[in-house]
Symmetry: C3
Subunit: 322 residues, 3 copies
């Protein structure tokens, strides 16, 4: 009865690197509207789509993604980082994304590039989220938060959401301290390609080699009220494989999924949306809860089933993602 | 050669809620006789069967379950809790269960109902075990233990066994501290339906989405000498699916399994029983160990194989479950 | 693109116990050359092969194993331990193993036999590695390290590598503290038979019951720069099953695999070797890295892809295993 999904979807794409088929090598990220942050103000974030060149920025605006991620990391060649930072800052300032979130993907802290990334973009009062790559421990989050607290406009600095990418075995060791490092942490992303490079693992069609890493990430995310964004589907031409991966991701408890190509966005967003039956049931739960708590009653009965806190929380989460 | 099973079986059933097919929605719990508590006095517990209405209490007495669990949680409608507490207390006092354990399933600590549950039943000197629902951390165990130490008759309070239900991602985060919170903790139960509701997971026929949670629970249980009770088989009409799930549970190291219907009890208890060959081998190990330790020899050879502490411990556990 | 394998292979065999088909019951250990210890001096270790009787020692020398493990544990009957210690010490001193590592497998610390094992063999200046069985916590490692620091010749004591066997649920609980207990810890081994005995698990052909334990071990090993040696393939007559298990082990991130029979060694070593294409790519990465760092540039572009620290580290590891 509660077999519902964490719903939402965010799409992220990368800057096309001139020398590479980066539609393949650089994933889009599909993530979800997920009010896993019930205690926080909810920022709508159904799709991320990123880029640092004007052409890609414009392309990303044409997608349905709730959240647009301007990329400064793998989608940008090393000798273009400086130029990209300026373009990304301008794009954040310039474009009206409507309800869609404005996010930026920065280089990892250990690369030495993150500091300049942050100096360039944090002055904007229109930045809503940061995708932090290769987070190895809570120290990486603290570094970014310190930068935010010093450089972001005072009225927005507490609202910038952090999306932490898990890309190494060490990151998996430190999941708990990463999740609890700062209240701005809002989502975990499983970055399978870099995770496999770090551990010498080989990704297969069965994905069974990633069971422990993916399911550990999901469990930690839900324990600490974060979104959990699944790995990218590499077979970007096959809708069937994409749907199969989305279905598995939902079953595992992921709230969204990265994508490697814009054409994956709609399928992912559809797959990670709550179904009508669950939504209706959730609404009745919240109505009943409202009625009964106003009478001083905590738990109550609906359709013969006792509704207690965990069920109410499930319903709240579901509704928040619509 | 040591491919033997943790054996035992406990059956738990729920009060039929008048408005619901609660034979489906409220699981029976099949658990095992498992002397995972080799250092503790062994309380026989092969089957739990619970209920708070006289009719269900009488029904539970007709099963082969080693342990009878009188339910105060999901099997009891919210407006009947008070009445149920009286009936359960009377049942504990009144019925002679022979070798079968007398247990009570209480509402979770965070519901605010557990305190009244415990005040009602702890005064009985005949209570042997508590099934604690939705244990999120060691604090929930400490709360129950404080109540026991204040309200249970002094001669029984140290012997009440605690069976902790893992039903949330946070519970999984805190497995170690839950296992080691109090020497009375005797078993962990994996409650799949609530776990899925808490994490947004979707339970499937393959059960692969639950691999991490179930196997983490088993590993912790064995590390700290506790029983591990597997999820309920929802297809209560199919013996084949039930046997398949039992087999998998045994392979994973579970010592028992919850059930949703009384007809599942015998199959589960059969499946979670040690086989004759293993038992005979275990007896020879313990005989040899006795002989050699009396001569001051620690390790010894049996059938050409050196028998050391881990093997002796395996044999002791197996024998204790007969 | 980085779907490469941790490569290497080590072969271990056991002393044939006179009363037992120990080619079956006592596994060979196939492990890998793995410079997971990039910050440490690299000791070549592609195959372990062990024995405590002259006959087996000579047999082990005829294998291609990079590392020869002289066994004092399960391969040696209890009443022959004393005699075996002398033979093993003499073998370490006497034989020239060329590039192959000289290792000794000792009884577990809790058996009370490890102390005498270590007193006998540590005085040799030719010992290169210890396989420590049934490591339950960092205390077992500390015990062995204290013995090394007191008994091993001063010029070698810092270079003795420790290979820790994970054989219990408690060991799994303490993985992190075992991995970080001493800089001499160089590899983890998953000992499936004893692990199953300790936890009541039943090993199956699918191996899915061991997913959590094996993948947790691999993640910890890579997080702390250790080798990860997979379970033994029990079907020692089937090359197909062996290859299937090797393939899975590589996909999971294991760097090597135990073997139960000398005939498994070559297949395992072949399967756990890096392929030419990956090696060539890794060499180009390291060349590029050398060129660019000499110019003061950290990250650089190769074939249109930005090469940063994690990729360079991947390349270094791969090259070190050739």
């Amino acid at each position: 009865m509660l077999n519902s999904l964490r719903v939402s979807a965010v799409a992220k794409s990368a800057l096309l690197n001139n020398n590479l088929l980066s539609t393949i090598s650089t994933p889009l990220l599909i993530q979800c509207k997920n009010n896993s942050t019930l205690s926080r103000k909810y920022i709508k974030r159904r799709a991320l789509f990123n880029g640092s060149e004007d052409r890609k920025i414009l392309a990303s605006l044409r997608t349905n993604a709730d959240s647009i991620v301007f990329d400064l990391e793998d989608g940008v060649a090393f000798n273009r980082k400086k130029e990209a930072r300026v373009k990304v800052f301008n794009a954040i300032e310039k474009y009206d994304l409507g309800k869609r979130e404005k996010a930026v993907r920065i280089n990892c802290v250990s690369s030495g590039l993150a500091e300049d990334d942050l100096k360039s973009i944090l002055p904007s009062s229109k930045l809503e989220a940061l995708v932090i790559t290769k987070v190895n421990s809570e120290k990486d989050i603290h570094f970014v938060c310190d930068m935010i607290d010093h450089l972001a406009p005072e009225n927005v600095r507490k609202n910038i959401r952090l999306i932490a990418c898990v890309e190494s075995a060490m990151s998996l060791m430190n999941l708990k301290s990463i999740c609890t490092s700062d209240p701005r942490v809002d989502a975990l992303v499983f970055a399978s390609e870099d995770y496999c490079a770090d551990t010498g693992m080989i990704r297969t069609r069965s994905r069974k080699e990633l069971t422990y890493a993916r399911q550990a990430l999901v469990a930690h995310a839900h324990a600490y009220n974060l979104q959990a964004i699944d790995l990218v589907c590499q077979d970007y031409k096959s809708d069937d494989i994409l749907r199969e991966e989305c279905q598995e991701g939902k079953e595992y408890g992921f709230t969204g999924k990265q994508a490697i190509h814009p054409r994956q966005i709609d399928i992912i967003q559809e797959m990670f949306s709550p179904n009508k039956k669950d939504l209706e049931y959730a609404r009745r739960i919240l109505d009943g809860f409202k009625n009964h708590t106003s009478k001083g009653i905590g738990a109550f009965v609906l359709d013969g089933k006792m509704i207690d806190q965990p069920v109410v929380r499930w319903a709240e989460k579901l509704i928040s993602r619509v």
